[in-house]
Assembly symmetry: C2
Homo-oligomer: 664 residues x 2
């Protein structure tokens, strides 16, 4: 309210006038006011603040002394300073349990997802070591478990394979993956810094549900390579080439691989099922992958599986992440691809990370600042790209396990990271005989959770158009490609918004008997029309995209009104067209000319044209166009429909009675 | 209203209940109703009708006998059948005068615009012969004068020159121009038939003003070639290459051409000025081009101008349009370019034609059906493309002359067409010595009228963002290209719509003293806050693009409310958050989950969450999500803010008094 203080000069002007009704009763009409004057600069400032700083992040700094401001500033950028000082042994105990639990999941998943991205398995472990440490310092969520995720891995792999073969030139492929990760991080951090985070809002939940289900199927089908033991497999992702690749290489199928693979897959799915049924048994599904890896490795070693056609991971280097600044390639022919891949995986991993953070924050009733999270995730990926990590984010499945295992702070990420470090330093040789089929089974059992049929059914029930975007994303991903599927779905979602603006609803209002409330005649049955009045409510901003439509639609309302009258009484009784403007939240120059045209057209028809409750911005614009358009000066603005109808009816009566008074 | 008849079963349920106030007064609360049930199919049908048939074109056919229906149908497709039968000699006289006037303008402009498109001058005359005849039969405007126009000519020429040189392979160039015209016509007619005409609405007036001013400057600069007598001129359109081409060829400047050219240019501009000052003298500017052509031709012939470096048109073929079906090329390497050019010139010429038609229809108070006009213009261009005409439409400048000269019906187009025919048959040799400089001067004097500075100033005054789109179109056209300039401007306009949806306004409402009206506190100074209530109005549909923003913004409203309370009384008094939903015109599945989250968050705070006047669609969706979300069943829906505040305040009082009654 303090914003208005500057222009209180017109407070004393008359705000309402009274109309005398026959028997000395008075009826008060409230004046529609122009909003307080503000300069263009002030308005721009207010608008920019609402657009980019809706959460007003600087509010907490206001009125604080400088040292306090510095502390608050440091805490803003490093949330660890907020919770760190009050960290206790009790919290540590919880965090160790949850950290070890997610580590047991992160190690096999890290190796698997790296393979999904066509990267060396060890890169997946590197990516589960450094990024969680960075996130622990910068991130503001307490539950998110950081590491590689299936969808970003899938997309990075499939996009880079378009230009470079991971088997043909594996070094170049790795370099491009790291450079993409760098760009993903820069892009994510920029979104946060420039406060453009709303861009990821355009991946609506409806789209994501379709997209994730499609991606899950694509990912699962890719695993047929290791689950069936096929050696010559297509590089493409879409369902048609993959299926044809599967059935054109039937001779390569290895029954030993198939039997072993599907046994473990069934086991993993069963474990998942148990944990879903009883969330307290979360450790069943959390531990199952590691247990499967151990059992299968021992089994393959014991039966000398390679000799029976079971392929294994092979030798893995020991040691921590090597620095990889020299691996980033900022020139050359693949730069465009790398930037595109960076942006695409950046958006997708950001969407997942932010959604995970928000979900658990709502559950535990604390707040996650979207823009801050974007900076944290972005910075984490930039650091990752120079320490041999590929793109990482908060993982849905591991964060859920983390939460169920009782994680209290980001220290659980540190515990996981240390566990991975120990693995990298000492345990790598143990993975030599781990069969590839188990990685495939782990991926399939993980992505099955991305298919959410009941959510899709809910969307169908509530909003058919949303369901179309879900389907578009799903089928686009399955049959064309991940990027195209997403682009089509987002395009459809934006088209819907544009359509709502291009074809706004106009609704005829009627009086609720015994009140001065006016509501939609088609919605409220008891609402009745007021003779002589056509009361329309326009339900959208009026702008270039809809003025022609509104013109045509309102003409039709008037024609229909007159036709009905003609049937009843052979002449039109229409005297007033009232536009209820409460839902017209903005107009532009085309909107202003719309009102000018409407007024001219109504005057030609001999019908009075009245506006009810135009909002501040609308009044402002109409006033500026005043020379063209006398809305503000004339007596055709009312604050409520009720007052407009009463006042105008009284006017008519007055005229009629004065006409009767005139001696003929 | 008849649509609702089917589901009147719930009419008898209670629609309001009464709350007893202390001293036996009663206060009536109106129930928010669910809208009448409609099947998905019915809703889809209604939605499609509103989207594609807002003018309900079939209404006039309803209830008519079959023969009448056939006649009405024929009249719908051939408006000539509407006005033809009542055509009179008096109308003919007016039409002959105006037809001859626009012919005197159309002949020199036709030749000039064809040169602008790098086509043989005679194609411009062909295009002023056939299309006007077609339009006279199909068009529904009485004032539009049809023929080639400057902007579409400019765009067609510049786009085709990207791939083919008009001097190097003039036959191919002509073939591509005719094929583009064919595609333009098909595209225009499809927009009309598919009722997608709203696509051209996205070229808002603000964009067109910037675009036309930019195009006028580009076109005028192109004429420096003929006005300065330069022979080696750039093929590019943007301002930088053109100006460098002008000043790098100073040695080619011909002073005879310059003197003569600028004399005629001044004359033409003077004539234009006279007609603008006094619209009755419209014939001065209408006749000036033809007079200039005649005088300059005679002059050049007399002084043997060619020998003094003045270039002339040269020999022109006599005879009417040859058929050109065999010239259309539907295969080959230029097909993509041709389709792109067709769509681009199609949109631009359609925009001009429809705007011209609408402008004069409003002026004379008759109606032009946009979709029908699109079909007419489209069909006209398809016919044109097989009769050696390039793209044509209703011209702004010639239609204004037509109107001023007193045109009554499309017969003036026929008169013009016949005049052009006579010219084509007998007068072509007379143009042999017409100097090219006069064509340049005619074009410059015509496009000067496209620069509308006062309109641009008006846009600046009313809406700053609109003005940015104007500037974007203007500078984009001047410095980059016609297509890019338009694309940037349209992109900005769409971005604004998306921004309005992504960042909707939330407004805090207060009570207007002495009434039960609630309005924006920042707008109406006398509105006062109701203690314990936070009343917010949300001014946009709630969907995927804004739920995160709304969540953050509403949290901030609540925090600010609590902070203010803390300062005053050390504890928060917030008991009710009321969302006024009159301007929330739609929600989607994300919107539904927004309400779920809001409700959970409010419950955790111990604050009641109340909705006021949700519209039919919103209630419908919330009801469908009922299992998740008990809004509809619970007692937290009110029809007006006033009723909500009264009822909730009474509830609080009741609780307090009953608490006092309890013996402690």
């Amino acid at each position: 309210m303090d914003q208005n203080g500057s222009s209180s000069s017109n407070t004393n002007t008359m705000r309402s006038h009274c109309i005398e009704i026959n028997d000395n009763e008075e009826f008060e009409v409230h004046k529609v006011e122009a909003p307080p004057q503000k300069s263009t600069l002030l308005k721009l400032k207010a608008r920019l603040k609402e657009t980019f700083f809706p959460d007003d992040p600087l509010r907490q700094f206001k009125g604080q002394p400088l040292p306090k401001k510095l502390i608050l500033g440091a805490q803003y950028f490093f949330p660890i300073l907020q919770w760190g000082p009050s960290y206790s042994f009790k919290l540590l105990k919880s965090d160790i349990v949850s950290g070890l639990t997610i580590a047991s999941l992160a190690i096999p998943q890290g190796i698997s997802y790296a393979k999904l991205a066509s990267l060396p398995p060890i890169v997946g472990l590197y990516s589960s070591f450094v990024p969680p440490l960075v996130y622990a310092v910068l991130g503001s969520s307490r539950d998110v478990a950081v590491g590689p995720v299936s969808i970003a891995s899938l997309v990075m792999g499939s996009m880079l394979r378009e230009e470079v073969s991971p088997t043909g030139d594996s070094l170049l492929f790795l370099q491009l993956a790291l450079t993409s990760t760098f760009f993903a991080g820069i892009f994510q951090a920029s979104l946060g810094i420039l406060r453009l985070g709303f861009i990821i809002d355009f991946l609506s939940k409806a789209i994501l549900i379709g997209f994730m289900a499609g991606a899950a199927i694509i990912v699962a089908l890719q695993q047929l390579k290791s689950l069936l033991g096929i050696t010559h497999f297509t590089q493409q992702m879409a369902i048609v080439p993959v299926m044809s690749s599967v059935f054109h290489n039937v001779d390569e199928w290895s029954w030993q691989t198939i039997v072993m693979g599907f046994c473990f897959l069934v086991l993993l799915l069963l474990a998942r099922h148990v944990s879903i049924r009883n969330p307290k048994l979360f450790w069943v599904s959390a531990g199952a992958p590691l247990v499967s890896v151990i059992i299968s490795t021992v089994l393959v070693f014991a039966i000398k599986g390679q000799k029976h056609g079971i392929s294994v991971i092979g030798k893995l280097e020991e040691g921590l992440n090597p620095p990889s600044l020299n691996m980033l390639r900022f020139q050359g022919s693949h730069l465009v691809l790398v930037i595109k891949t960076g942006i695409m995986t950046g958006i997708l991993s950001l969407t997942e990370g932010i959604a995970v953070g928000r979900t658990f924050a709502t559950l535990k009733n604390y707040r996650v600042d979207g823009n801050k999270e974007m900076m944290a995730i972005g910075f984490m990926n930039v650091v990752g790209s120079v320490t041999s990590c590929y793109v990482t984010t908060g993982s849905f499945s591991r964060s859920a396990v983390n939460h169920n295992a009782g994680a209290k702070t980001a220290v659980s990420n540190v515990v996981m990271s240390v566990t991975v470090m120990v693995t990298l330093l000492f345990l790598m040789p143990l993975f030599h005989y781990t069969p590839n089929l188990i990685l495939g089974a782990i991926i399939v059992s993980a992505v099955v959770g991305l298919i959410d049929i009941s959510a899709a059914y809910n969307i169908w029930k509530i909003d058919k158009y949303d369901f179309i975007t879900t389907l578009a994303a799903f089928f686009g991903v399955i049959f064309i490609s991940v990027q195209t599927g997403l682009a089509i779905a987002v395009g459809l979602a934006i088209f819907k918004i544009l359509l709502q603006v291009t074809r706004p609803k106009t609704v005829m209002l009627g009086n609720m008997p015994g009140t001065d409330i006016y509501r939609d005649l088609h919605h409220y049955k008891e609402a009745t029309r007021v003779p002589g009045f056509l009361i329309l409510s326009i339900e959208a901003p009026i702008n270039f995209a809809n003025i022609n439509y509104l013109n045509e639609r309102i003409s039709r309302w008037i024609e229909e009104f007159e036709e009905e009258d003609n049937i009843k009484q052979r002449q039109s009784s229409l005297r007033f067209v009232i536009l209820e403007m409460s839902a017209v939240t903005a107009i532009d120059t085309s909107g202003v000319s719309f009102f000018k045209d409407m007024k001219t057209a109504m005057e030609k028809k001999g019908v009075a044209f009245v506006l009810v409750n135009p909002l501040a911005e609308v009044i402002d614009k109409l006033e500026k166009a005043d020379k063209v358009n006398d809305f503000i000066r004339e007596n055709n603005l009312y604050l409520t429909v009720g007052e407009a109808v009463t006042a105008l009816s009284l006017e008519v009566k007055d005229q009629q009675s004065s006409m009767q008074d005139v001696p003929l």
